[in-house]
C-alpha cells in the first residue's frame, strides 16, 4: 500500500532533480533525500546507513521499487551509464493530485534539487559522506571530521574531505 506523503515527496524530488538538470539516477535521489532529511531537517522516515557510495537507505530503495512496480516511476536507459529515473504519465497524474500534501517539504526539496542539480556522483558521495560524519559527531573539529571522512573513504584525500565539509556547512537550508 503506497504511503501518499512518502510517495509524493519522492516524486517531487525526482521531478525537481530532473528540472534542475540532474542525471537523476538512484544514487542522486538517495543522496538528495539524505540531505533533505539531515541537512534540511525534514523527516523522510527513511533509515540511512553508510554504504558503498556514502549514505544509502534500503527503505528508500524499496519505496522506489514500489513506485516502479506501481508504474509511477520508470527508468530511462542511457547507453554506457547507469539509468536515469523519471515520472511516468501515471506518476505525473499522482503528483498533480497530491502535490498539495507536500506543504512544508516543497521548498526544501527545491533547495536540495538546486544544490545537486549539476553535481556528479563523485561529488555527491563526497558531500553526503561529509554530512554523515558531521551528523555522527556534531561537536568534532573540522580536522577530526576530515580525517574520519578519509578513514571511511580512503580515496577522498583529507584536503578534499575538508573542502567537502566546508561546502556542506555553507549550504543554507
Amino acid at each position: 500500500m503506497l504511503d501518499i506523503d512518502k510517495t509524493v515527496a519522492i516524486l517531487a524530488m525526482v521531478k525537481q532533480l530532473r528540472d534542475e538538470g540532474s542525471w537523476t539516477g538512484e544514487t542522486h535521489v538517495q543522496k538528495a533525500m539524505y540531505f533533505l532529511d539531515k541537512k534540511c531537517a525534514i523527516p523522510t522516515e527513511f533509515d540511512f546507513i553508510l554504504y558503498k557510495h556514502g549514505p544509502y537507505s534500503f527503505d528508500l530503495h524499496e519505496s522506489l521499487a514500489s513506485l516502479f512496480a506501481s508504474c509511477l516511476l520508470e527508468h530511462q536507459v542511457q547507453p554506457s551509464y547507469g539509468p536515469r529515473i523519471q515520472l511516468t504519465e501515471a506518476g505525473r497524474m499522482f503528483f498533480a493530485k497530491y502535490a498539495s500534501r507536500l506543504s512544508s517539504k516543497e521548498r526544501p526539496i527545491q533547495t536540495v534539487a538546486n544544490w545537486f542539480g549539476q553535481k556528479g556522483v563523485a561529488d555527491l558521495e563526497k558531500l553526503a559522506t561529509a554530512l554523515w560524519v558531521q551528523t555522527e559527531s556534531p561537536a568534532a573539529t573540522e580536522t577530526a571530521l576530515a580525517e574520519r571522512l578519509h578513514e571511511i573513504k580512503p580515496h577522498i584525500p583529507v584536503e578534499d574531505a575538508r573542502q567537502a565539509l566546508q561546502t556542506v556547512s555553507a549550504l543554507e537550508s
Binding site: 500500500m1 503506497l2 510517495t7 542525471w23 539516477g25 544514487t27 542522486h28 546507513i49 553508510l50 554504504y51 558503498k52 557510495h53 534500503f58 530503495h61 524499496e62 522506489l64 521499487a65 514500489s66 516502479f68 512496480a69 506501481s70 508504474c71 509511477l72 527508468h75 536507459v77 542511457q78 547507453p79 554506457s80 551509464y81 547507469g82 539509468p83 511516468t88 501515471a90 499522482f94 493530485k97 556528479g120 556522483v121 563523485a122 561529488d123 578513514e151 571511511i152 580512503p154 580515496h155
Partner: protein, 445 residues
Amino acid sequence: MTKTTHEFRDPIHVFVKLDADERMVINSEPFQRLRHIHQLAMTYLIYPGGTHRRFEHSIGCMELATRIFDTITDPDNLRKLPYEVRNRIPEIERDRFQHWRRTLRLAALCHDIGHLPFSHAAENLLPKGVTHETMTKRFILEGMRDIWAKMEPQPKPEQIAKIAVGEKEAQELLPFSPWERILSGIITGDVFGADRMDYLLRDSLHAGVTYGHFDHNRLIDTMRILPGTAQDDTEKYNLEPELGIEQGGVQVAESLLVARYLMFTQVYFHSVRRIYDIHLKSFLKTSLIGGVYPTDLDEFLATTDNEILSSIRAAARNVSAAGHEDASRILYRNHFRKVYQLMAQDCANNPFALADIAAALQEHIGVDNVIVDDANKATASKSDFPIQADDGRIISAHGQSKVMTSLPIATTWYLFVNPEQRERACSWVKKNVETFLKPGNKNYA
C-alpha cells in the same frame, strides 16, 4: 591416518570438498541445526519436492563462492584492472590469497546460521532491529568462538562476520575495505552472489521447475573485478572496484536475472505459498511467548522447523490451543483462497486499487474474512554492474542490456478470503472490480 580432506555429494555441484577446519564448522551445533530449517519454508505443500534445507544450500554457497574467488583472483584476469583501481585493493598484491580464500569459505558456510525456523516466512517476529543476519553475526562472533579457537591459524571472526552478512547488515563493523566489500559481494551480491546463484539452482531442482536454471559455470568464468560503473556522464568509471563480467557474460547474466524473476513469480510468490506463510506467521504470533522469537543463542538453537511443526500438529488437534485456527488451516489445507490478483497496468490507473478493492470486499463479507498481501521484489532494479567491453571500456549493464531494464518487478498483490466466503467473494469480484480499475473511479480521480 586422519583424513585432511573430506567431501560431500551434492545434487548441483556433484562433489564439494572441504578441509578439517571446515568440517569442524559443519559438525557444530549451529550448523547442524540447518539440517532442520527448510530452505523454502512451507513451499513443499505446493511443490512437494521442495523439502531441501539450509544445510546443503550453505555448503553449495561455499563451493560457488570459492569458484568465483578463484576466477577473479586469477592473475590473468586481473591484468586489465586499471592501476588506480587496483591500487585500492592492496590485498591482491600481498599474496595473502590463502587467508582470504579460507575466510571467504568459512563466511559462506556460516552465512545462514542465524536463520529462523521456516527461513524467511516469519522473520518479522524477531524483536525490532534484529534480523537473521544479526543472529548470524552473533553466532560467528560469540557462539562459535570455541570453534575458531581450535583452528590453526586462527581465523578472524570479525572478518568472517563482515563477509558473511555484508555491509548493510554489519554497520557496527564498518568501515569495509574495498576488498572486504568485494568478498562480501561474492556471497551476498544481488546479481553474482553465490547465495543467490545456489538458491536459484537448488530451489529450481527441488521444486521440480526449470525457471531457475542458468549457465552458472559460464557466468562464473566471465566474472572479473572491474572499476565501478559510471553512474552518470560526469565520470568515465567509478574508482570503487566491483564485481562485474566480461562482455561475453552478458547473456548469461541476463538469464540469471530472468531466472530470478521467474522463480519469484512462479515459486517464491506463488499465492498458496504466500498464504501458508501468512497462516504460519499468525500461528507463531499467538503461540510464541510474547509473540516474538527468542534471541538468546541457546534458546535460538533449540528451535527448528521440527519443534514448530509439532506444535502446529498439536494445536490443530486441540480447539482450545493458542493458534488453533491457523494451525488447522495449515494442517488440513483449509487455507484462505486467492480471489484476486492486481495487475501492474491496473495499478497505474489507480495506485490504491488493491486497498480500495480490499476495503470494499471487507465491507461485503466481513473484515476478518479478507487478507491483503502486497509484497514486491525488485529482482532486477538493483542489478546494475560493470561490464568490460571487448574494446576495454567499462560500461553499465543497464546501459547495455534491455533485458535487464525491462524486467518487471515481481509482486504479490493478492486478496485472499476465508474459504467459506469464497463463492460470495468471487462473484463480488467479478461484478465490482472493474469499477476500481478505471481511470476516474470514485477513489482516485
